[in-house]
Amino acid sequence: MPELRKDPILGRWIIISKERGKRPTDFIIEKDESKGGFCPLCSGNEKTTPSEVLSYAPPQHVSNTPGWNLRVVPNKYPALVIEGDLDKEGEGLYDKMNGIGAHEVIVETPNHDETFTYLPKERMKLVFTAFRDRLIDLAHDARFKYVMIFKNHGKAAGASLEHSHSQLVALPILPRMITSELEGCLAYYKYKERCIFCDIIHQERNQRSRVVCENDHYVAFVPFAPRSPFEMWVLPKHHSSSYVSLDYYLFDELTELFAECMRRLDKCIPGVPYNFVLHTAPLRSHPLEHFHWHFEIMPKLTSIAGFEWGSGFYINPIPPEEAAEFLREVQL
């Protein structure tokens, strides 16, 4: 019989359709055809992108020329624009404001054929460092309240370029998803005076059935009520609400664990398209006792259709305990 599970933070219901009994090999992944040709993110094509706002490169490197290890550039045709004032106004009962924001692309490697999952660890660490450095920089702009950092990999997950990249959008408002998460965490904190994520980590590490891997400072597990098969969350074991406060020495361990998660996932379902999103505290907020920064990795294996749009329920054909077992036991 299918099982209904409730996400303890958002109150979102998930249907685990157990009887389908899927295995990783049951998912058919359409291979993205390599289109080849011109790529604006490749080393040597720096002039085709807007001027970089951050780059990690050897000393004496000249901006916007080859030789970089990672670069961050504004989106050439952004969803939101950085110049201007917010100018909030009402129109009857409706609210609107200017589309102020920042939309940037983090080019994770100069090499077209490298994928994030198999980036050398030193290069992957630069990606996590760039996330923090951009958050710190964008926090200086009082117009922005939140920076959404995410990655789309594979056409099915929304990536339009093969070249490995992630994106950030700085927003003048808090996104609904983050507001709901903050509210859910606060409600739990008011009731128990503890961070719900800290309690989840504690329970998952005791129970072990959904844990995928861990090291001294981080843990990765399949959540109790995952929206998609093989969804994973990566969290610091010690309480911390903002990714900005992440100490430099902890990036090595984060990279180590994140790479392990991605490689386990890719071994289970080779070439799987996925998204990952950083959930962190709003910009410039004081340390929050009730919130815990984390990454959510969502393989794109199921599609959202009428039932999901209408009900807000997600249907997941693999129980998280089984998904975690597959992920744990795969040979790297």
Partner: protein
């Protein structure tokens, strides 16, 4: 006289753009599909391409990639009715992105910037 290659599957766009741009002193060549445009670029010397995105057969973003592979220096202006293609990072290979409108001032300005 500067040569523009206009790639769009709609007749009315060709009529409108041809009239407006020829009035400004440009020579306008027409291609009604991405495939036809790529063929024409092999034999025709053009100074700039105005490229639609949503076309039957090869779409404009794939055509853009191929054009830039053949001639990276040739300016290409993407002209689409759809703002959302701006979200597609493949559009970055273009030199400008103009949302289609009956008012051609923005497109004319973009053309001037690249080939005046």
């Amino acid at each position: 006289m500067k040569n523009i290659l206009l790639v769009d599957d709609e007749d009315s766009i060709h009529l409108l753009y041809r009239e407006e741009f020829e009035e400004e002193g440009y020579k306008v060549h027409s291609a009604f599909s991405a495939e036809e445009a790529l063929d024409k670029l092999e034999t025709l010397a053009v100074d700039l391409v105005i490229l639609d995105i949503n076309m039957p057969g090869m779409n404009g973003l794939d055509a853009l990639r191929k054009i830039k592979e053949i001639n990276p220096a040739l300016p290409v202006i993407l002209s689409s009715a759809y703002q959302e293609f701006k979200q597609d990072l493949s559009s970055w290979a273009s030199d400008e992105y103009v949302v289609k409108s009956a008012n051609l001032d923005e497109l004319k300005g973009a053309v001037k910037r690249h080939i005046s």
